[in-house]
């Protein structure tokens, strides 16, 4: 008979933190408050999500602007089999969404009933979580705006 061997698992954990700075910090704070921010470049175009430094010229960007909560789907991919950590427990679409007032798009989830309801160029609007903490997931996702459904 082999001797009994003592075993004791030890899991070490240590935290990481992240300082977000004035631009990403403002974007995240805005999300907590139900506001979506972009940032204006020298040529007048607006990046959303905002970036601290111009992606082409490397100049610092400082002019935060509020963008719309609805926008246009530029492209999308249907996710028919969501995994546990994904934004929705039923099939949904990943989409690049250009919000009104922004010139760039951001990736988020669109809660459409089926792929047949998705189309490039369709209008979508943000669905907010009620408990928000300053995180991109404060926007639960986007929902299709029915024709004539915008104020």
């Amino acid at each position: 008979m082999s001797p009994e061997v003592l075993q004791a698992p030890l899991v070490l954990e240590y935290p990481f933190t992240r300082s977000t700075g004035p631009v990403i910090g403002a974007f995240l704070t805005g999300l907590r408050d139900g506001v979506i921010c972009g940032i204006r470049r020298a040529d007048g175009t607006v990046l959303c999500p905002p970036q601290e430094y111009d992606p082409l010229t490397a100049e610092p960007l400082t002019e935060l602007v509020e963008v719309g909560q609805a926008g246009e789907v530029l492209t999308w991919a249907w996710n028919g089999d969501p995994r546990p950590m994904q934004p929705f427990d039923r099939p949904f679409a990943w989409a690049l969404i250009r919000l009104d007032g922004a010139d760039t798009s951001m990736l988020h989830a669109v809660f459409a009933p089926s792929a047949a309801e998705m189309a490039t160029g369709m209008r979508v609007r943000a669905v907010w979580r009620t408990e928000r903490e300053g995180h991109i997931a404060d926007i639960a996702g986007f929902e299709p705006v029915p024709p004539g459904g915008e104020e």
Binding site: L12, Y14, F16, R18, S19, G21, E52, Y53, A58
Partner: protein
């Protein structure tokens, strides 16, 4: 074909601090990079390539940060390359940046090293259990303390030499506005009485944990000639490495350290190291590494390093070989930047731009870094004049 003569024309540093929560990682790097560009009189568009260095990704938990930093460092559409040699990385990054100009691949290079230690815990990051390998489990201090004891046994160094180094560096840090620790009233007795962390290393003999970045702009000979401000000419660069697990190695003075020093001094044409060098910025995260490196780098014979410390030879005030006039790693340790700070401070000395911690009339200075288990070494020698 001889290498292209290479000059440092800009140095930028952030004020080193325990936590820079007001800036993102990109924002921290920008601060140093912008200051270096400003001193160099350059703009982003003048930069041909960006060479960056930092310590292991685990230190902040950002995998391959060079990818996300390309925009903030003006590297879009240009080469960006990351160097990684543990704690020596800031020095190695400076060597690689210099080689980009020396080889005539690029004419104007921005190089930068950084660490945002507040965003994680380097000691635990160093102690991660790894499959099929021994965990350090005690951070760097626990690893280096027995090596220091070995040095003390070999040389008969008195117990308080380390405290003398620590007190010197902390006092010299008061002359450097960028230093993290400014302990105005620190007495030698307080250093001696500070808690023993890893025998023989006391609390006041160990480096702080800092956030910070350091950047340099390097140019070719024409760029150096045209620069209206002070210039530091690169007289030599060297890097060496060795395994830290080979049982036969000399851990007090690793062969790679001695070879690195021999190489760089030969490149610079220096015979009498102590006499011909005016200032040294060496990597001393634990006080005792000053006498140990003085010997390993050939500034002192074996067993004489601690005597140089004891005699005050390495003090900015009156010493013939001032060491770590900036306050050194013992006063500021943003790990990935710490080696580059040594290189940059050496450059500032020969530029005559070191401010209150300037060594009068410094013409030739050494920058030095080591990393890992004292297994990676990077050095450069810079001068006021062309070699």
């Amino acid at each position: 074909m001889a290498a292209e003569r290479t000059a440092v024309i800009g140095v930028g540093q952030t004020k080193y601090a325990a936590a820079r929560r007001d800036v993102s990682m990109a924002g921290l790097l920008r601060e140093a990079a912008y200051r270096a560009l400003e001193m160099a009189g350059k703009t982003w568009s003048d930069i041909d390539a960006v060479i960056i260095g930092k310590a292991p990704d685990f230190f902040e938990g950002v995998m391959m940060p060079e990818v996300y930093l390309a925009e903030a460092l003006g590297a879009v559409g240009k080469p960006i390359m990351r160097v990684h040699t543990a704690g020596s990385v800031g020095g190695s990054t400076g060597c690689v940046a210099a080689s980009m100009v020396q080889s005539r691949i690029h004419r104007c290079v921005l190089t930068i090293g950084w660490e945002k230690q507040s965003e994680s815990n380097a000691m635990w990051a160093l102690s991660l259990p790894q499959p099929f390998a021994t965990s350090v489990n005690a951070g760097a201090g626990g690893y280096f303390s027995p090596i220091i004891r070995r040095y003390m046994m070999m040389t008969g160094a008195p117990e308080l030499i380390g405290c003398m180094v620590a007190h010197k560096d902390r006092r010299q840090a008061l002359l450097n506005p960028y230093a993290h620790l400014h302990q105005h009233d620190l007495t030698f007795e307080q250093v001696v009485d500070s808690p023993m962390l890893w025998d023989p290393i006391r609390y006041s003999e160990t480096c702080p944990s800092s956030d910070g970045a350091c950047a340099m702009v390097l140019v070719d000979e024409a760029g150096g000639d045209q620069h209206p401000g002070p210039v530091a000419w690169v007289h030599g660069t060297a890097m060496r490495s060795e395994s830290n697990s080979y049982g036969g190695r000399n851990m007090v003075s690793p062969a790679a350290s001695e070879q690195c020093a021999d190489d760089v001094f030969a490149q610079a044409g220096i015979v009498d190291r102590r006499a011909e060098i005016d200032a040294v910025e060496m990597y001393v995260p634990f006080s005792w590494y000053e006498p140990m490196w003085l010997e390993s780098l050939g500034f002192a014979a074996v067993g004489e390093g601690w005597r140089m410390v004891e005699s005050g030879a390495t003090e900015l005030d009156g010493g013939d070989l001032p060491v770590n006039c900036s306050g050194g790693v013992l006063s500021s340790n943003p790990i990935g930047a710490s080696g580059m700070i040594r290189f940059a401070e050496a450059a500032l000395q020969v530029m005559g731009a070191a401010g209150e911690h300037q060594v009068d009339g410094a013409r030739r200075a050494v920058g030095h870094a080591y990393g890992g288990g004292a297994q990676y070494f990077a050095m450069w020698i810079v001068g006021s004049d062309k070699l």
